[in-house]
Amino acid sequence: MSERTMGASRSRDDSVILDVRGMRVAVRTDAGDGPVLVDDVSLQLRRGEVIGLIGESGAGKSTIGLASMGYTRRDCHIVGGNIIFGDADVRAISLDERRALRGPKIAYIAQSAAASFNPAHTLMEQVCEASVRHGVLSAAEARAEAISLFKQLDLPSPETIGSRYPHQVSGGQLQRVMAAMAMVAKPDILIFDEPTTALDVTTQVECLAAFRKLIREHGTAALYITHDLAVVAQIADRIMVLKRGKMVEFGDSRQILLQPKEEYTRRLVSERVAGHNFVDANVAAQVPILAIEHVTANYPGKPKVIDDVNLEVRKGDTVAVVGESGSGKSTLARVVTGLLPRAAGDVRFNGVSLPPRLNDRNKDQLRRVQMIYQMPDVALNPQHTLLETIGRPVAFYFNRSREEVRARVGELLRQMDLPETFITRKTSELSGGQKQRVSIARALAAEPDLIICDEVTSALDQLVGEEILRLLKKLQNELGVAYLFITHDLGTVKRIANKVAVMLKGKVVAGGDTAAVFAPPYHPYTQLLLSSVPEMRPDWLDEVLAARATGQATTAALLRAP
């Protein structure tokens, strides 16, 4: 196995740097063979080229990225195909030779920079470590190279930022430092694995621009893995669409975006471009059910997280609260539910002031406000069956008999388009989208007037999230329940909300009818948010950067403003 496969390399085009042919990755454990994660995928990456790998979760895109370095996750194995890097087949060389590739020749940038840095060492130590260890650069050379990369990546005070610790820089900065770490040894290939997914939209733009500049200036080839077509459109020359480990379509970025050949690609593209508009302004009655009046709240001993917020939700209406992380939008939900008692102001429900503390509210008050969470995996007890999960609110609030509870759960499952036979399954056996449907069913089982939806689609795949939104809208039409939507995704807001409140640093900076808020004249922050949402055009990033260069607002400038 240690023999190098030299033969194949001579016939290939010299400019091809990574040649993957018929790659297959499968799960193999001592318990037997598992599913095939990547099935017969081939791609040729040329010098300086960026290939985007796109697909929903389970498409195998990260597995392909890792396998290109000859690495697999625990219990996964590369079972077929050739991965030819330069002259050598990565599968055929020894572990030591493979280790020598990683870092100096091929480098990886992970989704969560925060989890990839050691909090106990400075950034500079970690950025330089690999290239010094591999003997590619001396310590002084690595340092100089790192500082020059920090400059290229537009990091603040590039000379000194290296002496900081990971927790002392922001998420977007850390992600860029990680790119610098990957680039120090001047690798031939960079693998980006969803590097901007965990970032806010405004930060994402900055990172994308920095990554693209870096790749172009150094002529580095890259695999860019993401679930977001609009993001990959800005950076990739070619795009490969994947579904369940198989290649669906592979072609030039413009062709994939503008003239997709396959039905699946067409669906992915159309969801982003159009998005179905669910907004129906006439549904809402003129009766306010939730009124948040001059509410201020803070965590014990901390400064205010929300400051003098006013918001009204009418019966059967949908109101969205948008903002970036740290804007206080989730805290607002905690104040409404009573998990965080408000410090000042009033929260009125059906005209009656709600006690600030959860424990002081009565059963009926609790029943009328329900919540759906972002992560269905942790919002449902994995040890409970669907009957226990959905049936508990029915039994708890309405004192129904066993048979009545069972019948009601069956009815709710039908409403959620879930098979009634699922009733005895444990929640841990369901997929993400199914779990989110169960969360909705659990909320509806209480027959609430208001459901708070906290980022309910952001942990789901695009197409699955779309179905959940459609289901929520259908249920609203049937049951007249009101939604308070907490989200950072402006696309969701535009499609589902009649009214919107834009939050920045704990204050509502813009609010009113969705159509009015998202139309000129904008509040500067609304405009910044809107312009930061990637669009499905390869030229979008250039246009945004050009517009910003002429002196338009950035988050930093807005945050400094009084």
């Binding site: 994660l37 919002a379 007890n381």
Partner: protein
């Protein structure tokens, strides 16, 4: 071989065999043992023969029979103590995690206080003052041991309580009993089961140590720790007598640890990078 869908490693199979044999012997001791544990059946330190496979002890009792009854006493006592310490530790640990605030503070400080005293010395004091009756022995060790269970149960429950399904239950208006028994407990079973095995080993060794020092199981009951003490001088005369109970202690400890290692490996595989 598979248990609950998990492949059983070779070491775990050995462990299961050891534990199964020990438990079988302990449960059916009166039926298996050829002689009574307390009745002399011949001369002191008689050599092994066809009837007395390992010979007789210092009072002329059959060593094989005493080993068999010793299994009953050592294992039974350890199980009772471990179970009791888990009842105390898990309930108080969960209560501390779910209630938080001053409940957590009070319970945690009491535990800190108990943990700050060396267990063996503390047990000595209590047993010397109150005597070495079995109930005193059981309660003393169980209370001392429950502090370690409390620590684990509290931290496991803390992790579970921070998950959103517990928040959902709180928002629904559920009381703490529902949250502890229905939301937290089912999710805490795997780490607690492994801990039960480990704590059983510690208790078992602790009792052996106490018995060896004369403060544990009292004559005429047989117990592996006190047997090592009674026979220890015979090693000077070329007899292997003290090695038999010592080997029994070692074998069971290793057996239980094999099983615990396997259970911990299963548990940890579920976490980490999921695909």
């Amino acid at each position: 071989m598979r248990i609950l869908g998990h492949k059983v490693s070779v070491t775990a199979q050995i462990g299961i065999a050891i534990v199964a044999i020990n438990i079988f012997v302990a449960v059916f001791a009166p039926l298996i043992a050829p002689f009574d544990q307390a009745t002399p059946v011949g001369d002191a330190w008689a050599d092994p023969d066809a009837q007395h496979w390992l010979g007789l002890d210092n009072l002329g009792r059959d060593i094989v029979s005493r080993l068999i009854y010793g299994a009953r006493m050592s294992i039974g006592l350890s199980l009772v103590i471990t179970a009791l310490s888990f009842v105390i530790g898990v309930i108080s640990g969960f209560a501390a995690a779910v209630a938080g605030g001053w409940v957590d503070q009070v319970l945690s400080r009491i535990v800190d206080l108990l943990l700050s005293m060396p267990t063996l010395i503390f047990a000595f004091v209590i047993l010397s003052v109150l005597g070495t009756a079995l109930p005193v022995l059981i309660i003393t060790i169980a209370v001392l041991d429950s502090t370690k269970v409390f620590r684990l149960a509290r931290s496991v429950a803390m992790n579970i309580v921070s998950l959103e399904f517990v928040e959902a239950a709180r928002l629904r208006g559920e009381g703490w009993w529902w949250i502890v028994t229905r939301e937290v407990l089912p999710n805490a079973i795997p780490p607690l089961t492994a801990e039960f095995g480990l704590r059983f080993c510690f208790t078992f060794l602790f009792i052996a140590a106490l018995s060896f020092l004369g403060l544990g199981v009292q004559p005429p009951n047989a117990d592996w720790g006190s047997m090592v003490r009674d026979y220890r001088d015979m090693i000077n005369f070329g007899s292997a007598a003290p090695l038999y109970p010592a080997a029994a202690i070692a074998t069971l400890t290793i057996g239980v640890n094999f099983i615990v290692d396997w259970m911990l490996a299963i548990h940890s595989r579920g976490q980490g990078e999921g695909a």
